[in-house]
Symmetry: C2
Subunit: 446 residues, 2 copies
């Protein structure tokens, strides 16, 4: 499938290249941004009728932006020069509508880019469009997007289109957000790499609020290296820079944490965790099963905090435009009204007290391994439900960075990811670990 | 100074009336919203050259909105029908620019109202304009606003214009936001009532982020009853509804908390606290001096958290438009880069652990009394510095509700407020206490 361009021949179609593969070609001018954009647009036009990953997609404006980037002299090209990025449609963009999959916001174009978009543009990224989301990023009823691996199954949510667009190779990079499991779960279902960084390491200004103490911006890509590109432009840094060079797994020590929701793990997830453990042990890593009783109350605390805070976020739209909200969103707002202030505070303070305890525990290990989802992506139901975030919500509450790694598949041939978790603000360390772990999972892909 | 209107004669000029006084007249149609708006516009046009409280003020659009409200049949009139509200210019409005006192955002008109604005409009409020702010709500260098009590002195910040516009009787109500002391301090300096509710009791969506875990929406008015109108439309509620009727001070028990920054109290503040205590004791209240050693580390923790989180909020504008940021904002972003992740987490977790401890302590008292500012509003300097938030930052960190009550004056004839503080989500209780305390402070006004 060699593909000719004006200046270069590629052994694979351009849309298949990761950001790390195509980035140097774009920066060096061996491939024009316009040419690259054309290849991706063709991919979207071919695939979008089946996938429906995009809430807003305008080839003309993409091409105009691409030509502008091509006009930049080499010394002004940023680290993401010409790389196409999809943005979940709850993220403000000044040149595209931001509709939150909600009629209240139809056709509304924000006055300013969210800061996270400003940083992408400053780095030279090509903003490719807005990806589909559940309503206001908080419904569990999906948009019309299908899983690229099987169009009868959900891609997950709420960052539905971001995961699907990356998995289906429309773009190499996409941005989403997670409150319970909205980054790691769709990454698991769609078989891509996902990072939920430490909470508030990336500004959430201009990103719709669901639960202010839980919402976290996250990234999707098809390689850990690509995620690292985003981590760098957003200035994610640990107190101690991880040493250069690859992390050797033979000296690594992992804890397997089944977490208090282990009873929800389906055979596919049990098998995935076993396979990942076996692969790591085969690579020389030490793995131990770790019971963490401090995690037991966290799932309920998470639900209480999320629901109570959703009331604050949704109250204005609920009051003024209730008929324009979907059933799930309405029910969230109603449920929030029935949580007492003392129950909310007990949950919030409980989580807050658990964070340093869990950090201290995690620090003893290279990383922990834990499920990314209850199993393979569920079959689409009438509500297009986006699956259970049970295995993710715990880590969202604790604000620790989580990477989903693909590579394993379930009995229906669907991807099943595994999560690596590190203490807060160990994002770069976690990416380094993820690079090594991804290598041992790779042979099992497909 | 009687004033004639088409339907009614008032003993005082309309602009002097509080929201609670003028509200029933507007709702009952004894005064048209247009007539009321005209009176306030005349007041602004008379005073604004001296005060400069407004970042955006357009009489034509105010009058158009007023006429629309007048067209509503009585049964569709909301609890704030026709009441004029000023909005700090870091709050998104879909029909007015939101400029954050920053050239980057000049003339930018957001696509949607912030939810807090939606709720005001749903309640029938007349959005009167945007009030001046320090840059991005985070600089300590003031906008060109003067203190209505003395134009050589600062009105405080960062909710500068909101405090000044209410104090100077341009509007009866205004909305601001506080990260360190940006509501309570200007309320103290300008001699108005201010409420910083419990953190996140009001949605901060569409309000510029400075420090995500500290920023709190707050209210300004000239009476506690007016503040209560806002508290009601925003759905502030305690778990236990305070009993009807006035709170008798004879059975009340107050704790006087000087706080760890007491050494910063100027004679005016020392005297104000003594005078308030004497007035409460004369009304039969029990007052005891309370030392709270748990508060000792909070001021430093607050600074660390605010500065570290400011880095996240400011990084995009700092990277892309540094030349458009003022010195203070630039220095905040740079300072944030030098705070280690572990120092930030220690401060954040320290505050989080202190919150339930302090709540439990506060619950033993009717309320605590503590200073609202280091003293009277300082004289304006070359940077138009907005004064010290030292006495407020502690309570911002702890997320507890705080009311500033005016009524006392310092040696230069300037207002000096006192703060009442209650545990988290005891906002309605606090307002009830504030009503009674305001009565005993009133005779000393002026």
């Amino acid at each position: 499938m060699a593909q000719m361009t004006g200046t270069f021949t590629f052994s694979r179609p351009l849309h298949e290249l990761t950001a790390s593969e195509v980035g140097p070609l774009l920066r060096q001018g061996r491939l024009s941004v316009e040419e690259y954009a054309c290849a991706l647009i063709a991919r979207v036009e071919d695939r979008e009728p089946h996938i429906r990953a995009w809430a807003f997609f305008d080839p003309n404006s993409i091409l105009a932006s691409a030509r502008k980037l091509d006009g930049l002299p080499p010394n002004q090209r940023g680290p993401l020069h010409g790389l196409a990025v999809g943005l979940k449609d709850i993220i403000d963009t000044e040149d595209m509508p931001t509709e939150h999959n909600c009629p209240i916001y139809r056709d509304k174009v924000p006055a300013s880019d969210a800061p996270l978009v400003t940083m992408l543009r400053s780095a030279g990224a090509l903003i490719f469009g807005k990806t589909s989301t559940t309503q206001l990023g908080c419904s569990s009823h999906g948009p019309p997007t299908n899983n690229p691996h099987n169009d009868q199954r959900t891609p997950g949510g709420s960052s539905t289109g971001s995961a699907a667009a990356v998995a289906d190779m429309h773009v190499p990079l996409a941005i989403g957000a997670q409150t319970a499991g909205s980054v790691i779960r769709p990454a698991s279902y769609c078989g891509v790499v996902g990072l939920k960084p430490t909470w508030n390491a990336v500004s959430r200004e201009g990103v719709r609020i669901y639960s202010i103490t839980l919402d976290t911006v996250g990234f999707f890509a098809r390689s850990v290296d690509d995620i690292a590109l985003l981590a760098d432009i957003y200035g994610l840094h640990d107190d101690t820079q991880p040493p250069c060079g690859e992390l050797g797994l033979s000296t690594a020590r992992f804890a397997l944490v089944r977490s208090p929701v282990w009873h929800l793990a389906e055979p596919a997830t049990v098998a995935a965790l076993e396979a990942a453990s076996a692969a790591l042990e085969a690579a020389g890593a030490h793995i131990e099963l770790l019971e963490v009783s401090e995690l037991d109350p966290v799932p309920q605390w998470h639900t209480t905090v999320m629901t109570a805070e959703a009331r604050t976020s949704l109250l204005a739209d609920y009051g003024a435009h209730q008929h324009n909200l979907d059933d799930f969103v309405r029910s969230q707002c109603q449920a929030g009204q029935h949580i007492s202030r003392s129950a909310y505070l007990a949950a919030y303070d409980g989580i807050a007290a658990a964070r340093p305890t869990i950090d201290a525990l995690l620090e003893k290990y290279t990383a922990i391994i834990t499920p990314s989802s209850t199993g393979e992506a569920p079959l689409l139901d009438g509500m297009r439900s986006t699956g259970s975030p049970a295995f993710n919500a715990i880590w969202s509450a604790l604000r620790v960075p989580v990477v989903n790694l693909p590579g394993l598949t379930g009995p229906n041939g669907m991807p099943v990811g595994i999560s690596l978790v590190a203490p807060r603000y160990h994002d770069q360390h976690l990416l380094k670990v993820a690079r090594s772990v991804a290598c041992v999972l790779k042979p099992r892909r497909g």
